[in-house]
């Protein structure tokens, strides 16, 4: 019986799931609701402040992990959802979904280097 490659994708899925379970609510609330609605001071997401975060080593790591792991978690689960809906999923779709997450991660990495310090 062929050994499955699932462990790789499942580990990424699990890491993303844990991270999104812990920081997802806080981040979505701050960036998507509190600041846009004015519940929280607009200064929280000011350009200078977020740029400083993106320039710092810790900030780069945090932003990369959030974007990358959220993408891997989401794409892996979306791929499985298709199967749950009865859609036949083969290696092509598997590569497309995980490739998309990888591409997004690569883009995030590039941008975090590009913004410099």
């Amino acid at each position: 019986m062929k050994r499955s490659n699932k462990p790789i994708f499942w580990s990424l899925f699990g890491a993303g799931g844990m991270l999104s379970a812990l920081v997802g609510p806080g981040l979505i609330y701050v960036t998507g609701i509190a600041v846009p609605l004015g519940i929280m001071n607009q200064e929280a997401l000011a350009y200078e402040r977020v740029a400083a975060l993106a320039h710092s080593g810790f900030g780069k790591l945090a932003l990369f992990l959030v974007i990358s792991l959220f993408l891997f978690h989401g794409c892996h689960r979306m791929y499985h959802c298709l199967h749950d809906f009865g859609i036949h999923v083969g290696p092509g779709l598997k590569a497309a979904f995980h490739g998309f997450a990888a591409a997004g991660s690569a883009a995030a990495l590039y941008l975090l280097i590009a913004v410099g310090t």
């Binding site: 609510p25 806080g26 978690h73």
Partner: protein, 127 residues
């Protein structure tokens, strides 16, 4: 032997348990889109102050607010179901001879999530 195989069809509609499962799974769409929103924001940040501030303004649009409201609800549900199910993914946790009950693992996870949420909100609010 002739048998009859029933089709699966829309199996998830035939039992409330399955509907809740699908809702949990659906959270992944919102998590993916949110990550993409952050990625776009990062891109705008790299372009400069004006593009970034235009991205910020976009976050205040009705569509964005609706998306983030739904995303918040679903990520909270994801978080809850994640920790509810976590004991099943771990081997029995023991302290000496005492087996840590599943309840304790769930409560620990939920508390960690609450703590992280508070931390993020406080860190964001204090400029």
């Amino acid at each position: 032997m002739k048998t009859y195989t029933r089709p699966m069809g829309a199996w998830w509609t035939r039992n409330p348990y399955y509907l809740w499962y699908m809702l949990r799974e659906a959270s992944c769409v919102f998590i993916t889109v949110y990550a993409l929103i952050l990625l776009v924001g990062l891109f705008r940040l790299s372009q400069g102050k004006a593009p970034y501030e235009r991205w910020l303004e976009g976050l205040a649009s009705p569509l964005s607010l609706l998306f983030h409201a739904l995303a918040l609800v679903l990520v909270l549900y994801h978080s809850w179901t994640w920790f509810k199910v976590m004991p099943k993914t771990l081997p029995f946790v023991r302290i000496g001879a005492w087996r840590v009950p599943d309840r304790a693992i769930v409560v620990t996870g939920v508390c960690a999530a609450v703590a992280c949420t508070v931390l993020i909100v406080v860190l964001a609010a204090t400029t």
